[in-house]
Every structure is written in structure tokens, then in C-alpha cells.
Amino acid sequence: MITVGIDSGNRNTKAVVLKDGQVIGKALILTGFDANESARQAYETAVQAARINPAEVAAVVSTGVGRNEVKFAQENITEIGSAAKGARYFVPTVNTVIDLGAEEGRAIKLTSDGKIADFASNEKCAAGAGSFVESMARALQTTPEEMGPLSMKYGKEVPMNAQCVVFAESEVVSLIHQKTPKEDIARAVHDGVSNRVSSMVRRVGLLDDLALIGGPGRNQGLVQSLKDDLQKEIKVPEDPDYVSALGAALYAVEIT
């Protein structure tokens, strides 16, 4: 059976084509103003990549903030549900899922049979991981991709308290003026994000089998800060961006 999962996020729209438990195609495009249109593009790109006939697709399920806008999906599933399912696919024993996006972050606790036991997401005044790191990269005049490697070379821990992206940016600017090494600032930025994420994880309860999904999972510096903070091993799937879309595709199998 072939199913497609579409994750309509604030920043990116991801699509995954799943055939008998194997990913055979995927696509990631920037979300435009018309979420449905973006979803369609992602869908078509993924189907092409999978080299299948669209008629073979048994079901399409959407997830993500724009999930209700994806008109051609038969069903939708919340971000929490798809993240849990997707993470379980990669790490069958996972019981704590950290799902980070551009603006949002979530921590999900799972029961041993994979059901959602509890979840927490960032509340109003707390910045999400992706765009926070990007803003800070800009303040440091580097690229978001460079932030991870940079912070791995830190020498000294610098506490950073600001919750607000813009205020954190001005703290970063003062750190620069104080001639704090870029490496240390990059580490401080990741520690700051990690601090908020760890708080969320602790809120749902910190268990042993952690997985981190979502784009920021590719940022090694952030993953390192999180590991240091939580004192746990954290598994990151190879393509962390696609996990929720995959979760939606898995759900499509369940309902078909």
C-alpha cells in the first residue's frame, strides 16, 4: 500500500511517500501564503521522486499548523500525533519525543505501547528553536548552518537569560562588544534554546529513550547543549525534518 503524509509547517511543507513501510519519496518546499498550494507542490514533487502513479496513492493525511488547509487530504492528524508516530518508526522504543520547528517546540511523552501520555508545547512568550538560532546567527554575522560547528568549539559557558528573541539579540550584541568569542556566544545561544526545551521535556517527564525530530535536529551544537542539559543520550533520525510527515503517512496506513 502507498500512502502520503504531508506536514504543513510555518516555514516548510514536507511530503513523504510511504510504500509498505518504506519511504520511497520525499519533498521539502518553503510554505507559501497558500498552504494548500504548497502542499500540492510538495505532494507532486514527492510522488514524482517516488516514481509512482498518483493513482496508486491509497490515502493522504495532513499534519502541521496548516493541516486543515490541505484540502486534498482525506484526514488530518495533530502535530503531536504525527510526531509520535514518526519518531516511533525510527526509534521503536522511544518514550520522549522532542519536536522542534522554526517557531514552535514540543515535548511528547509516550506510553510503552506508543500512545501519547502527555505533551507540552512552548507558550506565548517563548521563542522556538529554529528562528531563534537563525536570528542569533545573523547577529553574529554567520550562517545558521555554521552555528552548530561554531558552538562545538566553545571555551567558556556564558549564561543567557533573555527569553525574547530580540532581547536575546541585544544581549548577543553586548556580548560581542565585550569581545566574547563567537564560539562561546554560539554555545550560549544553544544553551538558551536548550534550557527552554529541557524545561518542556521536564514538564512532561524525562524518560530514558529520547528522540529529537524537526529541522533543528540537524544542528549538532543544539543537540550537544540538550544532551549536556538533560544528561541523556538523544537519538536524531537521519532526516529529522521529515519525521512528522512520515508520521502522517503512517497514520494514513492505519485508517485505510
Binding site: E123, P159, N161, E171, Q178, G192, M200
Partner: protein, 375 residues
């Protein structure tokens, strides 16, 4: 001269552990300055104030809702991170809801052999609060007796009262030296004095204060006094901030109104045949925390008096983020200060002070007082 006090403050946990070993007695952590330390000293128990650690933490999110003040969360974090694992008991006297929450969560998750909530009355302006508090102190005393297995006699209470009162008297005498044109100690040093007194055996602390008092009159700060500032508001033990204002920006704090500062020790108790009533009166009559300062705002008069006595030129008003009691007083305070022509700067504090953004505010504030030089 201040090294000892600084060390006490910095190594508070080592001190308490060592004290416990030396004395073989119990150590109790307290969350608010309304706790009657007299009774604890009478019982040979060492009261230590639980303050925050000023480092970002991520352990309190499951326990305290984010709209509660960062201080209360920082305090709870100390408990959850087992920094105070040597405590035999914890206690709080009723004050604000925020710190109460830190206490109750501590009680739930780091239980100690003794945990006591003392319903210190809020209506301290009512005549009945004394009688009520006296009855509550009686209950508290009995609970402490039961815990330590020792009866607290009047002589014990007298000893407890004397230890605490002496400490208050000595601190006040030192603080009064700050009224001089060139105060012999900085605000930061004064801060170390009061903070350390809340976490050491006051008998030792008193000795150190007496020694300091002998040397202080001869002392001079190695820099000009600069603007004479007062700092007032909620809990404040932010040493780096004080250091920045005094050493980087060149002003001097000459007085404060904080529960970690003068509010803690300003009033001594007035001798009374009924010792518990004496203690009750002291806590009812002390400079109030805003939670208890109604229907009249008595703290306003007190602040104005301090401004006059200490020849204050400018005031920095600080507040822990989300601190409702202070937020409810600050507009009234600012209005009065404005009326008196005293410049004020308002700052909102978190667990760590963002020194960069704060520095510009402080510099601009001082510049406002100094700017004639620029024209």
C-alpha cells in the same frame, strides 16, 4: 575587611554543613524574612535564608507556572538541584503567593523532617494582628520544641532575641556610616553584610560586625562617591548588577529598601514581659513587605525618610519580573519621588541581569543627573 562576609555568602553551603558538624544541631531553611528567627535561635537551630543561585535553570517548569516570579523559581531550583540537602527543616511565614509556591513545591518534592507554614497576618495595621500572631508563635514554638525535643524557656527566648537584636543593631550602626559625605563602604559591601547575616550563625556574624565597626570609620573607598543612590524594591541579591553600577558607572548605593537589605534588620524588638508578644510586635511593626502594607502605604513614609537621612540623589527601583506586590506599589512610589524631584530609574530583574541592556539604562540615568558637563 569584607572578605569574611563575602566568603560566608559565597560558600554558604560549606558554612552551614560545617556549622552542623561543629554544633551537632539542626539547620532550617527559611523562605521569607517574616520568619521569627528569635525562636529558632532560642532552640539552637540555625536559620539560613534560601536564596536563588542566579544561573538559568530548567528544573522548575513542571512545578511552577511561568507567570510566577523568577526569584521564587530560582529558589525552588536550589532545592530541586539538592543544593540545600543538609537542611533538617524548612519554614515560611506567610507573605507573597509566589514564594509560598516555592515553599510548597519544596515541601512536596524535597521533604524534610520539619516543615512549617506560619500564618503571619497580613493586616498588620489592625490591632488584632498582634494577638493573632502571638497565638501563632506559640504554636510555632511548640512545634519547634516537639521537633528538637527540647523545651524553649523564657531564658532561651531572651537569648534568641538578644542574638537577633544585636545583629540588627550592629548592621544598622554600620549602615548609618553610609550617611557620611563619603561612605566608608560601597553598596556591594553592604549587601555582603546583610546577605551573609542571613546565612551564618549570628553570634559569629556579630563578632565580625563588631570588628568591622572598629575599623570602618577610618576607611575610605578608593574612588569618588559619585551619585548617591538608593535601590529599592523586591528581593535583590544581584551582586554583578551592584558592581556594575558602582564600579563601571561610578555611583554609590548609600541605602536600600529590600527584604534582602534593610527591611530584614531595620527594627529591633521592644522588650516585653511576654516574650512571644515582644516578637510578635516586632514583626507586626517592622518595615512592611508590600503584601502587608495596607490600607495605608506606610512604606512610602519610610522610604522618604531614608532618602532624607541618607541624602539620596537618585533612586533605582527594581522589581522581580511578575512581582505583583511591588508592581502594586511602584506607581505610587514613583509618583511621590517625582513630586520630590528625585530622579528614578525602573528596572525589571530576572534570574540573571542582562548587564549590557541594563548598563545603558543606568548610564543614561546617571548622565541625566550629570549632563550639565556636556553642555
Amino acid at each position: 575587611m569584607f572578605t569574611q562576609f563575602k566568603q560566608w555568602y559565597t560558600n554558604r553551603h560549606d558554612y552551614a554543613r560545617d556549622w552542623k558538624e561543629r554544633s551537632g544541631s539542626k539547620v532550617i531553611g527559611y523562605f521569607c524574612t517574616y520568619v521569627p528567627e528569635e525562636i529558632l535561635y532560642a532552640a539552637n537551630v540555625l536559620p539560613v535564608r534560601i536564596l536563588g543561585g542566579h544561573e538559568p535553570q530548567d528544573v522548575t517548569e513542571p512545578h511552577i507556572f511561568g507567570m510566577y516570579c523568577p526569584f521564587s523559581r530560582d529558589v525552588l531550583a536550589q532545592g530541586l538541584k539538592d543544593r540545600f540537602s543538609y537542611l533538617d527543616g524548612i519554614t515560611i511565614a506567610q507573605s507573597c503567593l509566589h514564594i509560598r509556591q516555592a515553599y510548597t513545591s519544596w515541601d512536596l518534592h524535597r521533604p524534610t523532617e520539619f516543615s512549617y507554614y506560619l500564618p503571619m497576618p497580613h493586616n498588620v495595621q489592625s490591632a488584632h494582628s498582634r494577638t493573632f500572631l502571638r497565638a501563632e508563635l506559640e504554636q510555632f514554638k511548640e512545634a519547634v520544641e516537639q521537633w528538637t525535643g527540647q523545651t524553649i524557656t523564657d531564658a532561651d527566648l531572651d537569648r534568641g532575641i538578644d542574638i537577633v537584636n544585636t545583629n540588627r543593631r550592629l548592621l544598622k550602626r554600620i549602615f548609618e556610616l553610609r550617611r557620611q559625605e563619603n561612605p566608608p563602604l560601597s553598596g556591594q559591601e553592604a549587601m555582603y553584610l546583610v546577605l551573609s547575616s542571613q546565612m551564618t550563625d549570628k553570634r559569629e556574624h556579630n563578632q565580625a560586625l563588631e570588628k568591622l565597626l572598629e575599623q570602618l570609620p577610618e576607611r575610605e573607598l578608593k574612588r569618588p562617591t559619585g551619585e548617591r543612590l538608593m535601590i529599592l524594591g523586591s528581593e535583590n541579591d544581584d551582586i554583578p548588577f551592584t558592581e556594575m553600577v558602582e564600579q563601571v558607572c561610578g555611583a554609590t548605593f548609600v541605602i536600600d529598601d529590600h527584604c534582602t537589605g534593610t527591611r530584614y534588620f531595620w527594627n529591633e524588638s521592644v522588650p516585653n514581659e511576654d516574650r512571644l508578644l515582644e516578637i510578635a510586635n516586632r514583626y507586626v511593626d517592622r518595615v512592611p513587605c508590600p503584601t502587608k502594607d495596607w490600607p495605608q502605604r506606610k512604606r512610602l513614609e519610610h522610604i522618604q525618610k531614608l532618602i532624607e537621612d541618607y541624602d539620596v540623589q537618585g533612586v533605582i527601583v527594581i522589581q522581580q519580573k511578575f512581582c505583583d506586590p511591588h508592581e502594586l506599589d511602584i506607581p505610587a512610589i514613583q509618583k511621590v519621588l517625582k513630586g520630590k524631584g528625585i530622579p528614578t530609574l525602573f528596572l525589571e530583574f530576572d534570574v540573571t541581569a542582562p548587564l549590557g541592556p541594563f548598563r545603558i539604562r543606568v548610564e543614561a540615568f546617571l548622565e541625566m543627573m550629570r549632563q550639565e558637563d556636556l553642555f
